[in-house]
């Protein structure tokens, strides 16, 4: 297993001083090269979970294990590029070991070559997301973490980026964990879907997507969606 997550509990101090458990007994693992998706409604603690996995929040009981020397490539919901540096510099600063040629090639792959010297403030959200994704890949990540990669993009752009990410996973075989509220997005991108239930956040059901990403049709996706919804309502019922 490349990523092994075993969180017993994560608590936040509530308004009345008492602690509220936000994540409880949540366990899952990803094999090398596998793409997983954590799916749940907004406000169900997905971002907290992702922050724990990324090592940004260490105040929880349980453990997250990754092989020694793993590199984490993260694409945040807000692109979080350094606004005072060009697109090229943003990649170079995050990945000082990558050569200029490697970075140029990456920018070309993401159709960003024309924006190489622009400051991120001048980019549209779609372009900035792509730049942030390119930055996450520039460090040659062992694990790629994507936080709502398609949220607040218009439908055409979201579809375009979704296909790009699907291609990227297939071509690089990078182990990927996607956090999203959108079941269809997860079906299109992931090999395995972990459906989250809220308060405290835990995994309610797991769904395998057998169809390869490149062969996913709308009809197949709809079948998976129905299967997922049935699984969710069964999980609620029990």
């Amino acid at each position: 297993m490349l990523l092994d997550v075993d969180i017993a509990s994560k608590e936040f101090p509530g308004a009345d001083g008492r602690k509220t458990q936000v994540i409880g007994d949540l366990r899952f693992a990803l094999a090398r090269g596998e793409a997983g998706a954590l799916v749940g409604p907004s406000g169900c603690g997905k971002t907290t979970l992702l922050r724990i996995i990324a090592g940004l929040d260490q105040d929880f009981s349980g453990r997250v294990s990754l092989p020694q020397g793993s590199r984490l490539g993260m694409a945040f919901q807000e692109p979080r590029l350094l606004p005072w540096r060009s697109v090229f510099d943003n990649l170079k600063i995050a990945a000082p070991l990558a050569s200029a040629a490697e970075i140029e090639a990456l920018l070309k792959d993401f159709d960003l070559a024309a924006h190489r010297d622009e400051f991120p403030g001048r980019l549209s959200l779609g372009l900035a997301r792509r730049a942030a994704l390119a930055r996450a890949l520039a460090i040659r990540p062992t694990l790629l973490l994507l936080d709502e990669p398609l949220v607040s993009l218009d439908a055409a752009l979201a579809l375009e980026l979704r296909e790009r990410i699907a291609r990227l996973i297939d071509e690089t075989h990078v182990t990927t964990l996607i956090v999203t509220h959108d079941l269809n997005e997860a079906i299109a991108l992931a090999d395995r879907i972990f459906i989250l239930a809220p308060r405290p956040t835990r995994i309610a059901a797991t769904l395998h997507i057998e169809t390869p990403r490149a062969k996913m049709t709308q009809a197949r996706a709809r079948d998976y969606e129905q299967e997922a919804r049935a699984t969710i309502s069964r999980a609620r019922g029990s």
Binding site: R51, A54, G55, L56, R71, L72, M74, F76, E78, R80, L82, P83, W84, R85, I93, A94, P96, F119, G121, I139
Partner: protein
């Protein structure tokens, strides 16, 4: 301004307000003897040293206070005390404790500028974007990268403001320090001119110095600020 000066010089006595040409003549006289340059460079060196000291320690301490609650708690009373301590008290105490020497002079000026730099750096540290901080942490940026590419660019406008207000404060206080206890510098020459009631000599030293500080502001501080704001 020159015309106004000339007009005012005509109606007042030449002892109280000499016109532009006698002052210019005095400047040349002092320049020829070399005294103007020795004193100007002594003062400028003090300005540079105390300014650099105050900015370095002020930014570091202020940043720490903005980021660490404990540091803020410990240092805040000192900051308030320093902010409200009259410059003259600091200067006289420094001379009394450390003697009439260069260390006391530069230290006293730096100590006067320090709290201003601290306040601005603390503001800057508090205004840092937590999202970028987290990004730097997620990508495991080494400390030097984090300082140079994440912290400093966000701190820069605050440091620029501290530079601007600091430079003008520092050079004014350097003159007082020189007047009170140094054997050279513009402040010392102004004190001599005061004792001799020589307004011509006083202006001959004050004007070139003001001109230099104006040049520093226009050709160093302002271009630096524009460079910082390029990405906006």
């Amino acid at each position: 301004m020159l015309g106004l000066w000339q007009a005012a010089a005509l109606v007042s006595s030449p002892r109280l307000l000499p016109g532009p040409s006698p002052v210019l003549a005095a400047i040349f006289e002092e320049a020829r003897s070399g005294a103007l340059f020795t004193n100007l460079s002594a003062t400028l060196a003090r300005v540079a040293a105390s300014f650099a000291l105050a900015m370095t320690f002020g930014s570091a301490l202020g940043y720490l206070m903005g980021r660490r609650r404990l540091a803020d708690k410990i240092l805040d009373p000192w900051l308030v005390a320093l902010l409200n301590l009259p410059a003259l008290v600091v200067i006289v105490l420094a001379y009394l404790w450390a003697g009439l020497n260069e260390v006391a002079a530069i230290g006293a000026v730096a100590l006067n500028k320090l709290p201003g730099a601290m306040v601005l750096a603390r503001e800057g540290a508090r205004a840092q974007d937590p999202l970028l901080d987290e990004m730097a942490q997620a990508f495991r940026f080494p400390l030097s990268t984090r300082l140079r590419h994440v912290v400093l660019p966000q701190l820069a406008p605050y440091l620029a403001a501290a530079t601007r207000s600091g430079l003008s404060l520092v050079w004014k206080i350097v003159l007082i320090v020189e007047l009170l206890g140094r054997p050279n510098g513009i402040g010392f020459k102004i004190y001599t001119a005061f004792q001799l009631f020589d307004v011509r000599l006083l202006l001959a030293y004050a004007l070139p110095f003001v001109a230099i500080m104006l040049c520093v502001e226009t050709f160093l501080v302002q271009p630096f600020e524009r460079r910082l704001a390029r990405w906006r």
